[in-house]
Structure formats: structure tokens, C-alpha cells
């Protein structure tokens, strides 16, 4: 098989991967629109897709700043998860003692529902943004931490011996062996953390319930529900979904870029 036909084939598969779900989505939206119109469902119960689209445009002035806030919290929380998760994982690899003393606390943070901690965080955090960030971070950092720890421990034993035989320094071992071995694990954790940081940001906003200039999309949903503005609830929900999908796609592209040329998970199924 030549490279050209392989490329064409993968392009065809990509088209099918995109076209089929897109078609299903369009059909579902069409059915939704038809049912709402045909049965005359009132907009405060179920707005038609066309009304939601119109709301997105007319309410853009309120939704856009709120979206930016949510994006900011999500992005910062994800960044903090990477720094915190990878940093702690390196520390744990350096010393079993540090791991023994700190890992239980990471687990406690992970298993305690964030909804239950959030009101406390709101009391102690200096401002709303840092409270939101902290909540989102607590939800998102654990998969990065635990995956990176596993990854750093998964380096091939024989390669480890080889590094010992040639007198590798600690830094060389970390950079040339442990870090590349951990990369696939880290990226798998990152993809989970990407979704969780958005979930964390939204949950935090719900609990914080901040009004005013600092409020994100989740607060707009609450606010709209108080006013029975269901179309705006759906519009805000759409933006949150789009954000989640964008994070997922971006992290998948990143994974492919970093692992595509060597890792099993990224190879075509039939060679």
C-alpha cells in the first residue's frame, strides 16, 4: 500500500467519523424543532433549537463575559493541575517519604465531594476567583498526579539498568528515561483533568452563587432558571458543552502530536 492511498483512506475515515455523528445530531435537532412546533410546547418548558440559537445572539452581551469568566477559571485550574500534579509526582518519585506523608491528603481531597467543601472554601478564600479556582483545581489535579506517578514508575527495568551501567546522573535519568516513559500516562491523566476542570469550575460557580461582574456561565444558568428563562439556560448550556468538546479535541490533538510517532495507543489498528 502506498502512502498516498493510506492518506486518502485515513481522510475518508476522518470524514466518516465526523459526518455520521453530525448527521445524527442534525436529525435529532430537526425532530426536536418539529415536536416543539407541532405540539405547541411553550418556551418556558422546552424552547425549540431555533429559539435557543436566537437567544444566543440576542443575549450575547450577557453570555459572552460570563463565558470568558468560566473559560478563565477552567484554563487556570487546568494549568494549576498540570503544575501541581506533575510537581507533586516528581517529588513523590524523588522520595518515598514525601509520598507516604502527602499522598493520603491527595486522596482525601479527591474522595471528598467538592460540593461539600466548597462553602468552606468560600469562607476562607480571599476572593471569589481564587475560591472558584481552588475548587476546580481540587477536582482536576488528582488524575494528573496519580497518572504521572504511575508513569514515572513504569520505565523499563532493563533501561533503568542501562542508565545505571553508564553512570547516568539523576537529572539525566529523569529527563531521558522517566519523563518520556511517563508522558503517555500524563497525557491520559490530562485528558481526564481537562474535562474535570470545566466540571469543577461549573460546580464551584453553582455553590459560590456569585452575582455581579465575577459571575460565569453556571451562575447565568441559575439566574435564568429563577426567571424561567429556559431558552437562556439552554444557550448557556450550549456554550458549556462547546467548551468541553473544545478541550477534549485540543487535548486529543496534543496527544497525537506528542505520541503519534511512537506510542502504541496512537498507531493505526491494522498495519
Amino acid at each position: 500500500m502506498s502512502d498516498a492511498t493510506a492518506t486518502t483512506r485515513s481522510r475518508h475515515r476522518l470524514a466518516a467519523d465526523l459526518a455520521v455523528p453530525l448527521l445524527i445530531a442534525l436529525l435529532a435537532l430537526g425532530a426536536w424543532e418539529a415536536i416543539v412546533r407541532w405540539r405547541d410546547v411553550p418556551a418556558y418548558i422546552l424552547p425549540a433549537p431555533s429559539l435557543i440559537a436566537r437567544t444566543l445572539v440576542t443575549d450575547w452581551g450577557t453570555l459572552w463575559p460570563a463565558w470568558l469568566i468560566t473559560l478563565k477559571v477552567t484554563a487556570l485550574a487546568l494549568l494549576a493541575s498540570i503544575v501541581g500534579g506533575v510537581g507533586l509526582a516528581f517529588l513523590f518519585t524523588l522520595s518515598r517519604w514525601i509520598e507516604r506523608s502527602l499522598f493520603p491528603f491527595a486522596i482525601i481531597l479527591q474522595v471528598t465531594p467538592i460540593i461539600a467543601i466548597a462553602p468552606l472554601i468560600l469562607i476562607y478564600a480571599p476572593n471569589t476567583l481564587s475560591a472558584l479556582l481552588l475548587c476546580a483545581w481540587i477536582v482536576a489535579f488528582f488524575p494528573v498526579l496519580s497518572n504521572t506517578v504511575t508513569g514515572l514508575r513504569s520505565a523499563d527495568r532493563n533501561l533503568q539498568d542501562l542508565f545505571t551501567l553508564y553512570g547516568a546522573t539523576r537529572w539525566q535519568r529523569l529527563r531521558l528515561l522517566l519523563a518520556p516513559s511517563a508522558l503517555p500516562y500524563f497525557l491520559a491523566g490530562l485528558r481526564i483533568a481537562g474535562g474535570l476542570s470545566l466540571i469543577g469550575a461549573v460546580i464551584a460557580e453553582f455553590t459560590a452563587g456569585t452575582a455581579g461582574q465575577e459571575s460565569g456561565l453556571a451562575w447565568r444558568i441559575l439566574e435564568a432558571s429563577f426567571r424561567l428563562n429556559v431558552a437562556r439556560m439552554f444557550a448557556a448550556l450550549t456554550l458549556i458543552s462547546v467548551t468541553g468538546i473544545a478541550i477534549f479535541v485540543a487535548l486529543n490533538i496534543l496527544t497525537r502530536k506528542l505520541l503519534g510517532h511512537w506510542h502504541e495507543s496512537q498507531l493505526p489498528e491494522h498495519r
Binding site: 542508565f163 551501567l165 508522558l183
Partner: protein, 257 residues
């Protein structure tokens, strides 16, 4: 038999036991001279690989002494190690895999580059320097692994069943290539294998080990002259050597070969 002045490897009463009471090796005595090709055969679990790791300095014996000296100056020899698996870094190209030992030793890049090219040339993979390991066949990966072991210009090459996972044809070809390189460069080789035939084909000397506890039970000289080739495989001398090694293994009370 040309006896060398100072042995390169000197093992005196070496033993290795683990905390749980398992005795992996018991009073092993072995000395390997410069430029010898020592085959180490024995049933699985007899401690062949453990002995190799002791020689490499990756483990320390719990009793006795294991020392390696390259010459009279008393320096430790440069060691090359080849594992049963190719043990390549999947994220690195062939060139970078072979470059690794020199990089770890901090050799200047320009000098390292020419050495890597030479090593790849030796194993016949110069055209594959930019390939990733997954793009290579099992035999080619093993060649990369050998190039990586040779790139530091070792005086001692330790090989742990390097060709066990390969098909017969590939193994025979790599056997011949290895002998050719050895005759040119004359490193000392300790070659662990579970195949009597491979050991007799390659080695100038074969040490036979027995299991539980791991120990050396026979030390046999294979006096057929080098270069050896496919003719040797069919010769009466080869058959005779194989019989001797086989009966030594049988006497050690092992049928699990």
C-alpha cells in the same frame, strides 16, 4: 590454548542469597581471560542472568568477590550489555538509541556522532538511523541493541540470551556477524544462552551451571579453531562438543534445558 596474563573477570566464592532465604548463587568461582568468548549455559532459573548482573556491577554478591579489571592500570573495563529484549527507547530514533551511552557519559557531540555512525555501520543499519524502533523487525532491533552496546568501544561485552526470541535463520546470521565482529575487535564476551548448540558454535569456553542453588558444575574448553562457519555446524568436532556439554548438563541433574 593461549593463556592470558591477567584475567579480566575474577570471581571468588561469590554467593548471592535474598532476604527470604532463597539462595540464587552458591560459591561461584570463575575467571575469564582477555579476549575469551565464554558461553554460560544452564537450565532456566539457575542464576545465569544473575551472574551476568553481578559481573556488570548491577548487583553486589552477598558473599565472596566479583572483580573486573581491564588492564594492569587497574581500571574497570568499559562494559557493553545486551539484554534478551532489544530494550530500546520507543520514543527515540535508532540514532538516538545508539547515541544514549555516549550522551550519558558526556562525550562531545561531534565525536559521538562519528562513533554512532561507525557502530551502525558495523551492524549494517547505517541506512536506518532515522527510523523508530517500531518500524524495525525483531532481528534489526537486536542489531540496534548490539550497536548501542558496542558504541562505547567496550572491552567486555555481556550478553543475556540476546537471540533467544529470534527465529533460527536470523539467529544464525546474527551469530556469524557477532563472531566476525569479535574476531576483528577482540572484546571479552560472556554470552548467556539456554541453547547448547549456540554456546558451542560461538564460544571458546563453555561454563555449565546447575540450579537450586545456582552454581557452576563444568568448565569446558571448545578448542575448534576460528573462524567458524556453517561447515563447523556440520562437523564431527561440533557434534562431539555438543555431546560433552549435553552430558555435563545431564550430570548436573537437569533435564530442563
Amino acid at each position: 590454548m593461549n593463556v592470558q596474563a591477567a584475567p579480566l573477570i575474577e570471581i571468588r566464592d561469590a554467593a548471592l542469597s535474598y532476604g527470604n532465604g532463597t539462595v540464587a548463587l552458591e560459591s561461584v568461582n570463575l575467571s575469564v581471560g582477555q579476549h575469551e568468548f565464554l558461553g554460560l549455559v544452564g537450565p532456566s532459573g539457575c542464576g545465569k542472568s544473575t551472574l551476568l548482573r553481578l559481573i556488570a556491577g548491577l548487583m553486589a554478591p552477598s558473599a565472596g568477590r566479583v572483580s573486573t579489571v581491564s588492564d594492569r592500570s587497574g581500571d574497570a573495563p568499559e562494559i557493553g550489555f545486551v539484554f534478551q529484549e532489544p530494550t530500546l527507547m520507543p520514543w527515540a530514533r535508532v540514532f538516538d538509541n545508539v547515541h544514549l551511552p555516549l550522551r550519558l557519559k558526556g562525550l562531545p557531540v561531534a565525536e559521538a556522532r562519528s562513533r554512532v555512525e561507525q557502530a551502525l555501520e558495523m551492524v549494517g543499519l547505517a541506512d536506518f538511523r532515522r527510523a523508530y524502533p517500531r518500524e524495525l523487525s525483531g532481528g534489526m532491533k537486536m542489531r540496534v541493541s548490539i550497536a548501542r552496546a558496542l558504541v562505547t568501544r567496550p572491552t567486555l561485552l555481556l550478553m543475556d540470551e540476546p537471540f533467544a526470541a529470534l527465529d533460527d535463520m536470523t539467529r544464525h546470521r546474527l551469530n556469524d556477524d557477532l563472531l566476525k565482529l569479535w574476531s576483528e575487535q577482540r572484546w571479552t564476551v560472556v554470552f548467556v544462552t539456554h541453547s547448547i548448540y549456540e554456546a558451542v558454535y560461538l564460544s571458546s569456553r563453555v561454563a555449565v551451571m546447575a540450579a537450586s542453588p545456582g552454581r557452576i558444575v563444568a568448565d569446558l574448553h571448545i578448542d575448534s579453531p576460528y573462524p567458524r562457519d556453517q561447515e563447523y555446524r556440520l562437523s564431527a568436532a561440533y557434534g562431539a562438543h555438543c555431546r560433552v556439554v549435553t552430558s555435563a548438563l545431564a550430570q548436573a541433574g537437569t533435564s530442563d534445558v
